[in-house]
C-alpha cells in the first residue's frame, strides 16, 4: 500500500498514525506483564504454593581446549532438583540462546 503512495509526507503520516494506534492499544491493556500485544497471554503452568515437579537432569560440563576455547559436553553427573531444594532455595532460569 505504501508503495502506491508517492508523496513521502503522506507515507510518514501513515506510519505515524499506525504507531499511535499501536501505542493506544498497548496503553489500553491492564498492567499484567505477561499480556502480549494482540490480546495473547502466556498462561502459567504452576502457581505459588504448588509442589514443584521433581526432575533429574544432566549437568553441562565445560572443558578448556588446547587452543584456549571452551568445549561443552553432557556430564554423566545428574542433578535431582529435590535433592537441591532440600539444602537451599532454588532459582531456575529456563531459556535457550535463541
Amino acid at each position: 500500500m505504501l508503495q502506491r503512495v508517492k508523496r513521502p509526507e503522506l507515507q510518514l503520516a501513515l506510519v505515524c498514525v499506525a504507531a499511535v494506534l499501536a501505542l493506544l492499544q498497548m496503553a489500553a491493556m491492564p498492567g499484567d506483564p505477561s499480556r502480549r500485544p494482540g490480546g495473547r497471554t502466556w498462561a502459567p503452568v504452576l502457581t505459588v504454593g504448588q509442589k514443584a515437579p521433581d526432575v533429574e537432569l544432566p549437568r553441562l560440563a565445560l572443558e578448556k581446549t588446547e587452543d584456549g576455547g571452551v568445549l561443552g559436553r553432557v556430564s554423566s553427573e545428574k542433578v535431582k532438583l529435590s535433592a537441591v531444594w532440600a539444602k537451599k532455595p532454588v532459582c531456575l532460569f529456563m531459556s535457550s540462546y535463541t
Partner: protein
C-alpha cells in the same frame, strides 16, 4: 541474571536449564554462509547438540551459572512452563514461590524480591500458603487468546 547469581549464590542454588531453541533457524542454515549471527542455531536434536548450544549461550551472554540440560522430551520446559523462557523460585519444601513465562520470562528482579522474602524466612514460603500436589491443569504451549 549474572548479577543476581553473584549476589546470592552462597544462599541460593541457581540453575540455568537450557531448553529447546525458541527461535531456531532451519536445519542446514546454522553456522553456514547464510548464518547472520552466532545465535543462528538449528533446533537441537540431541543432548550433545544442546550442550554445544548451551556453551555458545554462556559465552555469548557472559554468564557463569551452573547449567543443566533439559531432557529431549522437555521435562522442565513442560513441567515448569519454561518455553520460550521462564523463571521459577522454589523453597526448601519444594514449593513454587514464583514463576514467570513468556518471551521475557527470565525475570531476575522479580525473583530477587521473592528470594529476599524466602531467605528472611529460613528458605521457606510463609505460613498460610497451602501445599498443593502435582502440576496444575496443563497449560498450552502457545499463548492463548483472551
Amino acid at each position: 541474571m549474572q548479577a543476581l547469581y553473584e549476589a546470592y549464590k552462597d544462599k541460593v542454588e541457581f540453575l540455568f536449564v537450557y531448553i529447546r531453541e525458541a527461535h531456531p533457524v532451519r536445519q542446514g542454515k546454522e553456522g553456514g554462509a547464510e548464518a547472520r549471527s552466532p545465535q543462528d542455531i538449528a533446533q537441537t536434536q540431541s543432548l550433545a547438540e544442546r550442550a554445544i548450544a548451551a556453551t555458545d549461550c554462556l559465552r555469548g551472554l557472559k554468564v557463569t551459572l551452573p547449567v543443566l540440560i533439559d531432557t529431549m522430551d522437555g521435562k522442565v520446559e513442560k513441567g515448569y512452563g519454561g518455553h520460550p523462557a521462564g523463571t521459577a523460585v522454589i523453597d526448601r519444601d519444594g514449593r513454587i514461590c514464583f514463576t514467570s513465562r513468556g518471551p521475557s520470562g527470565v525475570k531476575p528482579k522479580e525473583a530477587e524480591k521473592v528470594l529476599k522474602e524466602l531467605l528472611a524466612n529460613k528458605g521457606k514460603l510463609g505460613a498460610g500458603v497451602p501445599l498443593s500436589e502435582g502440576p496444575a491443569a496443563s497449560a498450552p504451549d502457545r499463548p492463548t487468546k483472551r
